[in-house]
Amino acid sequence: MVPVNYYLALAAFLFGIGLVGVVVKRNMLVVFMCIELMLNSANLTFLAFARRWGSLGGHAIAFFVIAVAAAEAAVGLAIVIAVFRTRGTLDVGDVTLLKS
């Protein structure tokens, strides 16, 4: 059997990659993809612990996370389209309306 630590380390690695992407990347769409990656790493942790303790609660939570991710992607991409339409850019550094 693969111990649960391996799955948790894999999830931590995925979360770290997503975090680095959110911090480093400038393209709004790629930042969104990295957020999806972080949500998936959280799902992997839930499922690993569900398998470890033989409880199906983690599967239910993972189901809800997938539903929330779908809603978040729809609204987030709509916001990206609205920002691109009004400001003509996808760069997160150029959207500074609240800064002044």
Binding site: A12, I17, G21, L37, R52, G54, A70, A71, A73
Partner: protein, 168 residues
């Protein structure tokens, strides 16, 4: 499945998963990043099957790799900014510092996971993680969150239309 075979299957899925996840951050073209993310979702579905989460693995391919990534690709197609977006931008100090901070967070978490010590997985029932078992749980213990999710999806649909449409 024997221990050794399970370990081999784990690494068969885990190594390409890490590589394609890194590809999302490394890729300069958003389309390449999206395709890399699709590959990562497929490998992650394999890991889910290894964890006996068959329903979630199925939903991962159907919802994530199918629906959400198609949405991403459509938006990338709509918002083409030309070649200037592909230029290598100079990294700011804050970005580099943030990346190192993220690496530090991961290092701390990895040490904490290592300190857990190897914990063996118990045997689970044969219907663990199937549609029948998870569905029964969703419709009994998690009925209220399940119904709230349907409301959330409705709000998301209406919100997306209102935000993205030019004139209602």
């Amino acid at each position: 499945m024997s221990d050794r075979a399970e370990s081999v299957v784990f690494w068969i899925f885990a190594i390409p998963l890490m590589a394609s996840a890194a590809g999302v951050v490394v890729a300069r073209n958003p389309v390449n990043a999206a395709m890399s993310l699709v590959a990562a979702f497929f490998f992650l579905a394999g890991i889910y099957v290894l964890l006996a989460a068959h329903l979630i693995a199925f939903l991962q391919v159907l919802v994530y790799a199918g629906a959400i990534m198609v949405l991403f690709l459509f938006v990338i197609m709509l918002l083409t900014t030309g070649d200037d977006a592909l230029k290598r931008a100079r990294l700011k100090f804050a970005q580099v510092a943030g990346a190192f901070g993220a690496a530090g967070v991961v290092a701390v978490v990895l040490v904490a996971i290592y300190d857990l010590g190897p914990t063996e997985m118990p045997r689970v029932a044969s219907d663990f993680g199937t549609l029948r078992a998870v569905g029964r749980l969703l419709y009994t213990q998690y009925l209220l969150p399940f119904e709230a999710t349907s409301l959330l999806l409705l709000v998301a649909i209406v919100g997306a239309v209102v935000v993205a449409k030019q004139r209602i």
